[in-house]
Chain length 155, copies 2
């Protein structure tokens, strides 16, 4: 976990930004909540616990910076809020999401699954794909058949 921060620090430096205490605190929160999909406000409230002097605007600026550097991804699930999601290290593409219409849970799919589709799109639409966003809306395994187990999404 510690090395992860170091690597992010390097990424910042490579783009001639610094890992200020506020930025570090923000990154730490993101690392500690990798599973979640936090809004800027969420992050702000959590960061305040470890760095009480920080301002909301700084959190926004930091998240924007991290988004620019592709360290986090900014997503929007249709409620009025942007959420920020740490990108898997070394991942070329953004991972996918499963949004449950019933309980609101957001699960992640780390596999790409889109290779074939992207090949078609690149060729047929003559479109050079840089990144993608894929979200499925539906009923999750928890709400689907009660008593079901968590599927092995690491297959």
């Amino acid at each position: 976990m510690e090395t992860r921060i170091d690597r992010i620090k390097k990424q910042l430096h490579a783009a001639s930004y610094k890992l200020t205490p506020q930025r570090e605190a923000t990154v730490r929160i993101l690392l500690d909540h990798e599973e979640d999909h936090l809004s800027a406000e969420d992050v702000y409230l959590l960061v305040k616990d470890i760095a009480p002097e920080i301002g909301l605007a700084t959190v926004y600026r930091t998240l924007e910076l991290l988004t620019e550097l592709k360290i986090v991804d900014k997503i929007n699930f249709g409620d009025g809020v942007s959420r920020y999601d740490l990108r898997q290290e070394g991942a070329a593409h953004f991972h996918h999401h499963l949004v449950c219409l019933e309980c609101g849970a957001v699960d992640e799919i780390q596999e790409d699954l889109l290779e074939d589709v992207e090949a078609i799109v690149e060729k047929r639409w003559n479109f050079q794909i840089k990144d993608h966003r894929l979200t499925f809306h539906g009923i999750c395994w928890r709400c689907n058949d009660l008593g079901a187990e968590k599927p092995e999404n690491d297959a």
Copy 2:
């Protein structure tokens, strides 16, 4: 084009809503700009030309209603604005988008392309898919190789 409005009228009635003059004007604008991806504000400004008394809140309410009835889809490309996109008649799923990072153009893909992926997701993640959102970010055919022709995205 006229029958299209009639069918939408029926859909409203089926859900016990009426096609008021304001709603009709709004739908007409959407039909006249099917290619575009208008924000609520955009729609408002256009509707005002044919129905000057309409209010912005009414446009919002109408778009929300149409979204509920799956007549339009509400999308968000990351700028702070929601955009509204008329759903292809009879389409079970929302169509995909190609957003050009260079010129900002938004093109549509009407084909599904996701059958295989969805089959995998449904099975492996035990997730009952109701709808999807797929957007590719990259460089469009216009910006890609200058002088290129528009690809036949109707293949």
